[in-house]
Symmetry: C2
Subunit: 341 residues, 2 copies
């Protein structure tokens, strides 16, 4: 039997006091308030009720077994404050996720938020990753643009990032490339900045030689790879113009897309264009689009339905829902084996 593993979930049902703390912390970080707020905490009971009523309920309704969960992506806010603030916020956010995993170890595995900043010091980022992996986290969300739409960090292929890749290799964890909220009025967070960052990083990977230099590195581009599958011909052509190897060889031994594409035609395109070994089931559960599709009567982000409609072979279905994600996240595979799954 195939486990249904959702590689892309977020804890986006935080209680109001969690948001209030962040608001006060941001005000403090920006010098608009003198008092540094103290995080009020969420009791285990409170957290259980929230998760049971939302993420767990939807897992059951939609028929999935386990979600790789991370803090709210748009809330990471790496453009706000210094390393001190970023570290405090990542600590609080990751502690929450860690407790959800402890409360429901069969239903969740953790992916951590990193204390990235616009200044960009990678040392505390790597320290937080190491600490969380030791706790049982299986990967991280890496923001390629901590400036929130201003793209002030070096491109992902730049050697500046190498310490991060080396730490990930040592820990044997992948990263999902995931930006946070947009600072630009012209770039809507979930409608433009997310998809555009996916597309921009895909193109950066074509331009560079990241996977040649780091052959064991594994990255996941979410939201079905941004615009890449729809414009696959453009990218194959640009690769040729840049005298790079074919995409299959240059990128697709190390790069994976999730299935956060919210309609059948989009999912069909993804599966037609991209090799099934590179696709991981994901839904962005309780994520960007919380609405019912009036054309289907189902939630836009119930992506399992679109995949089920593909009538995949047993082998392909297993790869998409379980096999690929266990291969890309070896620490998840280890956890599952310890649970006899």
């Amino acid at each position: 039997m195939t486990l249904i593993i959702d590689c892309h979930g977020h804890f986006t049902t935080e209680p109001q006091k969690h948001h209030d703390f962040r608001k006060a912390q941001v005000a403090y970080a920006e010098g608009k308030a003198h008092e540094r707020p103290v995080y009020p905490g969420i009791s285990d009971e409170e957290l259980s009720v929230i998760v049971e009523g939302n993420q767990l309920r939807l897992q059951k309704e939609r028929g999935s077994d386990l979600t790789i969960i991370s803090p709210r992506a748009s809330g990471m806010g790496h453009h706000i404050g210094n390393v001190d603030i970023a570290t405090e916020w990542a600590t609080i956010s990751n502690d929450c996720v860690n407790r959800i995993v402890d409360l429901f170890p069969e239903n969740f595995a953790g992916v951590c938020q990193l204390p990235q900043t616009v200044d960009g010091d990678l040392k505390p980022v790597i320290a937080e990753l190491e600490r969380r992996v030791e706790q049982g986290f299986v990967g991280s969300n890496l923001n390629p643009d901590p400036s929130g739409g201003r793209w002030s960090a070096p491109p992902i292929y730049d050697e500046w990032w190498d310490p991060m890749w080396e730490a990930m290799a040592a820990l044997d964890v992948p990263a999902m490339i995931h930006v946070s909220g947009s600072c630009e009025r012209c770039l809507h967070t979930t409608g433009a900045h997310y998809i555009n960052a996916d597309t921009a990083v895909f193109m950066q990977l074509i331009q560079g030689d990241l996977f040649e230099r780091h052959p064991t590195l594994r990255l996941i581009i979410p939201h079905g790879g941004g615009a890449a599958p729809y414009h696959w011909g453009r990218y194959r052509g640009l690769s040729i113009m840049l005298e790079k190897p074919p995409l299959g060889q240059h990128l697709m031994n190390n790069l994976f897309f999730d299935t956060c594409v919210y309609h059948q035609a989009g999912i069909d395109t993804l599966f037609r264009v991209v090799d099934k070994k590179n696709i991981l089931f994901g839904s962005e559960l309780l994520g960007a689009v919380k609405a019912l599709d009036p054309e289907t009567g189902h939630s836009f982000d119930d992506t399992k339905r679109y995949i089920d409609a593909l009538n995949l072979s047993t082998e392909d279905r297993h790869a998409i829902f379980e096999g690929n994600v266990r291969r890309v996240y070896p620490l998840l595979d280890k956890k599952l084996k310890a649970q006899n799954r």
Copy 2:
């Protein structure tokens, strides 16, 4: 018989002296050179030879009849210099296009570059549009981000742009939304910035009420609508969350996508998702991707092949190749009628 009209071509085969002038003009604009260069000009004979050997040759080879041609989009460089420099550069670039149209009136119609700047004064922009329409141009390329990836202009739905829309309504011309070169190292011009701008503007249009306020306005988002068709479900869902009317009513009476999508699976997605009344044949002829697809043996940007493979009904084929573009560009329709076409 259906005319095959390519709505998206650029003059990208400029002689070296044209590039040399621009380089010297930029150096002058940036204070790196004291002498203001003088444009050397291109003789009619020279221009004929260039166009016959490239754009016209490809029209014949690929079986198209007429191309709506504009200056090289990545060369517009609206982030460089002030209104004076932008106006000189738009004048030179548009003069070139105007002469191509004069030399081959049955093969080309002109779309103009606008002297936009980061400061953003729209008066000279509108003046250039009016002057060119009087000369016979049928539309313009409007840059939603003259800052080249920094998104310093207001979003397209902001009232700041209204004088532009009013001028376009008075002239009865549409605009293709088209950014220029990227200033950001992280955003490759043709592989990220172009596609991302298309996607960002599509989302801006969802957020705003531009077409409600300007019901006769017609905009074309090139490159197959950026990521929009692939993520159509996401955009339908976000529209619902923002309490906007359905996309068909909110946007698709005024918004059009071209077919600059360089593989069959992408074109298939475009035609499956988007109503045929909203699709205009385009190839970006001599544009972003100049390479042969090793999988097909044909040029990636020979988009007519992908459309031909759809086996459209005679009526749909006519709409895509001729009918829609004549409806969206009424001044082109007028020119064609004057030519008894």
